[in-house]
């Protein structure tokens, strides 16, 4: 089992969700986060004073998937979230030792 974490541009969230749903991903955890990467935020001007806004809003999606689906899921997210411009975000994969479905107590693959 793997945990796929994607941090994407907020306006791409609907497309990513639809693509994942079409593929058959049944659930995910989504949060509004803020952060920055190479684009280093942006500048806003108020009464002539420039403010560097370091943190820009992003959407973080977390999905626990079967090992066999990892390549497909990451491809889908990258394809749907891509604009080609700086600030598109990142996707990373990490190992998960164990998963338990709270309602039934099912474990691991059965719980995904």
């Amino acid at each position: 089992m793997k945990l796929v974490t994607a941090v994407i541009k907020p306006h791409k969230w609907e497309e990513v969700r639809e693509a994942l749903e079409t593929f058959g991903v049944t659930g995910m955890t989504v949060s509004e986060v803020s952060g920055y990467g190479r684009q280093k935020g942006h500048t806003e001007v108020y009464r002539g004073a420039e403010y560097d806004i370091a943190l820009v809003p992003k959407i973080r999606i977390e999905i626990v998937v079967d090992e066999n689906d990892v390549a497909d899921v990451t491809d889908i997210v990258v394809k749907a979230a891509q604009t080609g411009r700086i600030g598109d975000g990142k996707v990373w994969v990490s190992s998960v030792d164990s998963v338990i479905r709270v309602r039934t107590g099912e474990r691991d693959e059965a719980a995904i």
Binding site: S31, G35, V45, R47, Y51, L55, K58
Partner: protein, 447 residues
């Protein structure tokens, strides 16, 4: 004359609205989300405190007569001769209340310089002392027949010196005494809700028609003859209403133009600030200039103030919401502009303090400009010194500031036990300044 009294009741209510809620909204939107309630409270509390003080001894010190003023020719008037409006006729209560609202908004204006960091108890103490020692004497000297009025009469239709220069210099001195906010100017302290600021600026503009157009003073001829009274009433209010509108429009555009050139974009905060800058500058001059003069004064005020608000960064002065850059600079500009653009074709020119008076651009000599400059100087010195003494006295006795920790966590909670917004939604819409939001952001740094 009944029409005049009816109008003055409306005008007074309009000026009351300028403090609560207009100025509170204008300032509140510009402050940070963790200190918006404290910012608004400074205006609301100032209105209540100044209002009561005004009736107890303010009227006596500022005007001290059952009419327009107590022409004693002195710097001060006795606070006790008309204590609690003793001897003031009931009909004159309308005019007392009208002047009361001016005193209240002047005190409230100062709060913009010291946003996010001041104890409410110290603010209340300051406001009581400041209106007593600065506002009432200056109003007495400019309007109420005091020393300046007798020796250097100058034109201040609705409070360019008494209200705006007065509050502007006080705000600057107070920001100097109280010091910078924690993190200023390194940390971004951008306005948290510009929609509030836009609403506030619009309401200020609306209320300002009461402020300026209600400030008509009748000549002795008009007071004797109902026909002349009527002619002066609608003739003069027409001009001041028109000039107040035009200057504000020109200032809004002037500010945006400067922004567009210097920073590339015309901003909503620029429009809101331009409105206020224009209103400030036309306040002393709305009865002394013609329509073209009003447009020039407004446009200049918008452009000059748009540049002036940048000075605080060079000076290292945390005048948080630019009381100096807008009210002091705009007020001086408006007061001095009369020396150039004042015309004897205007309401005040026909029967003003100088009889036939003209500014430099209309064939006049330097007299008018010199008198205007004297009014500006007098206000800056009196208000500056009073604020310095009072500000330092409070600093070394009760102290001005909340603790650094309280300031960083938010003065709203520290001083009032409240927070303005509950933006925590089940799907995680954290408020911009919530510690939870930054904790989440730290988790996602590799994004």
């Amino acid at each position: 004359m009944d029409g005049y009294y009816a109008w003055m009741i409306v005008a007074t209510a309009l000026v009351l609205m300028m403090t609560t809620p207009a100025l509170a909204l204008f300032y509140g939107g510009m402050s940070r989300s963790k200190s918006v309630l404290n910012m608004m409270m400074m205006s609301y509390v100032a209105l209540a405190v100044v209002g009561i003080v005004f009736v107890l001894w303010g009227w006596s010190m500022g005007w001290g007569a059952d009419g327009l003023g107590n022409s004693n020719g002195k710097l001060f008037a006795n606070p006790f001769t008309m204590w609690a409006l003793k001897g003031v006729s009931h009909g004159n209560y309308i005019f007392v209340l009208f002047q009361l609202t001016f005193a209240a908004i002047t005190a409230a204006l100062i709060s913009g310089s010291i946003a996010d960091r001041v104890k409410l108890s110290s603010w209340v103490t300051f406001v009581i002392g400041w209106v007593t020692l600065a506002y009432f004497p200056i109003a007495h000297n400019v309007w109420g027949g005091g020393w300046l009025y007798t020796h250097f009469p100058n034109l201040d239709y609705a409070g360019g010196t008494v209200v705006h220069i007065n509050a502007g210099i006080a705000g600057g001195v107070l920001a100097l005494i109280i010091g910078k906010r924690v993190g200023w100017p390194k940390e971004p302290m951008r306005p948290h809700n510009l929609t509030l600021t836009m609403i506030g600026a619009g309401l200020l503009w609306f209320g300002w028609f009461g402020f300026n157009v209600g400030s008509i003073v009748f000549t002795s001829d008009s007071l004797k003859d109902p026909a002349k009274f009527s002619t002066q009433f609608y003739g003069e209010t027409g001009v001041t209403f028109m000039n107040t509108s035009l200057a504000t429009m020109a200032a809004l555009l002037g500010w945006l133009l400067v922004e567009r050139i210097l920073h590339g974009k015309a901003t909503s905060l620029g429009a809101a600030s331009g409105i206020v800058a224009g209103l400030v500058a036309i306040t002393p001059s709305c009865g002394a200039v013609n329509t073209l003069g009003a447009i020039i004064i407004g446009a200049l005020a918008g452009m000059v103030c748009a540049v002036a608000v940048g000075m605080k960064f060079k000076l290292g002065l945390d005048d948080s919401l630019d009381v100096v850059g807008v009210h002091l600079v705009g007020g001086i500009l408006g007061a001095l502009a009369i020396g150039f653009l004042g015309t004897d074709k205007s309401p005040q020119g026909v029967d003003g303090l100088f009889g036939k008076m003209n500014g430099l651009f209309y064939g006049g000599d330097l007299t008018l400009l010199a008198h205007q400059a004297m009014g500006v100087l007098f206000t800056i010195v009196v208000s500056g010194v009073v604020t310095l003494v009072l500000g330092l006295a409070i600093k070394y006795t009760m102290g001005w500031r909340v603790t650094d920790e309280e300031e960083v966590e938010g003065i709203d909670f520290a001083q009032h036990g409240e927070t303005a917004y509950d933006l925590h939604t089940p799907t995680g819409g954290f408020g911009g300044s919530s510690p939870l939001a930054s904790a989440v952001a730290k988790e996602g740094v590799s994004a």
